[in-house]
């Protein structure tokens, strides 16, 4: 039986009087990719932001067996929980290399000596970043910015990497490259919680999936089963359903 990494139980988030997430429960096991799909405004980003501590929430969030209730964002990062938000949140006026080095800030504070080796492995995964290492992050293309956001998150050697819409606004070829990169991360031992509007792609690279609708978990199951669910096909996969595969 695989080890439970993240447990979210009965999570509620409000924006003022509006309830954005209610009673959401999910879990992520070590070494797996879990996807959360759903329409716009379903509460997917809210879910990740609440797990990261960016938004205040009610409910239980346990990471590696520890309650994250009063834990600050910085400590969550130090414990191996990393979020790549939809907005990337890069340091645009700093170089690619500086952005990546800052990704390892918590490791640097701990006196970790392996930061240079991680930087090399990130450059191996994203060779384009190495070519642009002295370039300002703000001058990168959309795809390169997404690679940098992923690379920066990998620099902190996360145990669980949470990705919010990594394919958003990218050209199809770049989406394919990014999704291949995400899929290849599984072999490095990083677990991934993936939020994606591109439901087909998300279900193809993940092991388990959740469908979030109107702030609630409406469906869940192994990704292959979800991809064959008539409701999922009708609402999220459209014509072709599970047969219309993307090349990953």
């Amino acid at each position: 039986m695989s080890e439970r990494l993240l447990t979210v139980n009965d999570l509620n988030v409000r924006y003022g009087k509006v309830e954005a997430l209610y009673g959401a429960s999910l879990s992520v096991d070590r070494g797996t990719i879990v996807s959360v799909i759903g329409p716009n405004g379903a509460g997917k980003s809210t879910l990740l932001n609440a797990v990261m501590g960016v938004l205040p929430s009610r409910g239980i969030i346990e990471f590696c067996g520890n309650n994250m209730g009063n834990v600050s964002i910085e400590r969550r990062v130090a414990q191996g929980l990393c979020l790549v938000p939809e907005t990337r949140e890069l340091f645009s006026q700093m170089s690619v290399e500086d952005n990546l080095e800052l990704g390892a800030f918590t490791r640097y504070r701990r006196g970790d000596k392996g930061i240079r080796a991680t930087l090399d492995s990130v450059f191996k995964l994203f060779p384009r970043l190495e070519q642009r290492r002295s370039q300002m992050a703000g001058s990168l293309s959309g795809g390169e910015r997404q690679m940098l956001a992923l690379g920066r998150a990998l620099m902190c050697q996360p145990t669980l990497l949470m990705l919010d819409e990594p394919s958003l606004g990218l050209a199809p070829l770049i989406v394919k490259e990014i999704l291949n990169n995400i899929s290849s991360l599984r072999s490095t031992g990083v677990s991934i919680l993936l939020i994606e509007q591109n439901a087909r792609a998300a279900l193809q690279i993940s092991d388990y999936g959740y469908v979030l609708e109107n702030g609630e978990i409406a469906l869940e199951g192994p990704s292959r089963e979800l991809a064959n669910n008539p409701r999922v096909i009708e609402s999220y996969l459209g014509i072709g359903g599970v047969e219309a595969k993307i090349e990953c």
Partner: protein, 345 residues
């Protein structure tokens, strides 16, 4: 105006500009990292000079009591925060961090004050007393308001300024002081005679600015501070605590202010409230830099120094009016040439 007068005015201008540049850099750093327009920055200048003067007279400076008072308030606030957030196990470490350094410094000052130590040691003691006030002020006055708007933070900064000026009057009285120079040497360069103290100001300011440039560009902690200034949310997501960055930027602000006071103490008579005007001139330099660019702020500080020096020759009664009026065309130019965004409430 003859050539010799021109050189003397230029020399004055460069001396003052060096100090304004340091203060402008510090204002930009604090604003970038914490969004606080730190009006009270100048108080560290007068506290630095007046604390050094007290030590030289063999009197225990009143700023030591302020340091202990701030540490006490910060300790109470930390205790309340940790107990209410259920993190009581962190209390001993947190209290030790807040209380032990000020107590050790106070003890050291008590022992050293009657000894009439050499000037270098007195300067070090002055820095030890004034520098920790920055982080403690941040903890007491600004950290609880970390998520407030820039306007609220500015109001808090103005309040801190008034409190520090009032306490300055209480600790040091209304008399001005001029500390003895670091060096009595005079150097002759052609027509120009440069005092050893002016050289101290140039060298110390240049070295400090070079050290800051190295720190911000070459060390990960410096880059982390810049990262917080550029993108607070992004910085948190890589594990950089905005509170830690705020504490550090205020420590740098108090160190820069104190160093400036110690350097100009022998050149100009400083009163308990002189720091405000000096800080405001640094602020004009920072405004020229758009509160964001360090090189432009240093350039702005040069403009401030030169206009102050030359207007004191031609329009001595209006020299401050000239300096502060400069801010109007700069603001006009900036407001016409930059895109405006509403601050998120």
């Amino acid at each position: 105006m003859d050539f010799q007068t021109l050189l003397i005015l230029a020399q004055d201008a460069v001396t003052n500009s060096a100090i304004y540049a340091l203060l402008a850099l510090s204002l930009i750093l604090v604003f970038g990292v914490t969004r606080v327009i730190f009006v009270a920055q100048g108080e560290f200048v007068s506290y630095g000079a007046l604390t050094l003067a007290s030590l030289q007279m063999g009197v225990m400076p009143g700023t030591v009591w302020l340091l202990l008072m701030l540490a006490g308030i910060a300790a109470v606030m930390e205790t309340f925060r940790l107990l209410t957030s259920g993190a009581g196990q962190e209390l001993p470490r947190s209290l030790a961090t807040v209380l032990v350094p000020p107590l050790v410094i106070a003890g050291l000052v008590k022992v050293c004050t009657p000894l009439h130590l050499p000037l270098g040691w007195q300067v070090l003691l002055t820095m030890l007393i004034v520098m920790p006030m920055g982080p403690l002020l941040y903890r007491v006055a600004f950290r609880p308001l970390a998520d407030a708007t820039v306007l609220v933070l500015l109001i808090a900064a103005v309040a801190v300024h008034f409190v520090l000026v009032g306490l300055g009057l209480l600790f040091f009285g209304a008399e001005g002081v001029r500390t003895p120079p670091f060096s009595d040497a005079q150097f002759q360069f052609g027509f120009l005679s440069v005092s050893g103290q002016s050289l101290w100001v140039y060298v110390a300011s240049s070295v400090f600015i070079a050290l800051l440039a190295w720190f911000f560009n070459k060390t990960l902690y410096g880059k982390a501070l810049r990262a917080v200034a550029f993108n607070r949310n992004g910085a948190r997501l890589v594990g950089i605590s905005p509170h830690l960055a705020g504490t550090f930027s205020f420590a740098l602000a108090s160190a820069i202010g104190c160093l400036s006071g110690v350097l100009i103490g022998p050149v100009t008579t400083l009163y308990y409230d002189s720091g405000f005007l000096i800080g405001l001139k640094g602020f004009v330099g920072a405004i020229v830099g758009g509160m964001a660019s360090y090189p432009l702020a240093a350039f702005g500080a040069l403009i401030v120094g030169f206009s102050e020096s030359f207007s004191s020759f031609w329009l001595s009664g209006y020299k401050d009016v000239v300096v502060f009026t400069m801010i109007i065309p700069v603001l006009l130019w900036r407001s016409l040439s930059t895109v405006h965004y509403e601050e998120e409430e």
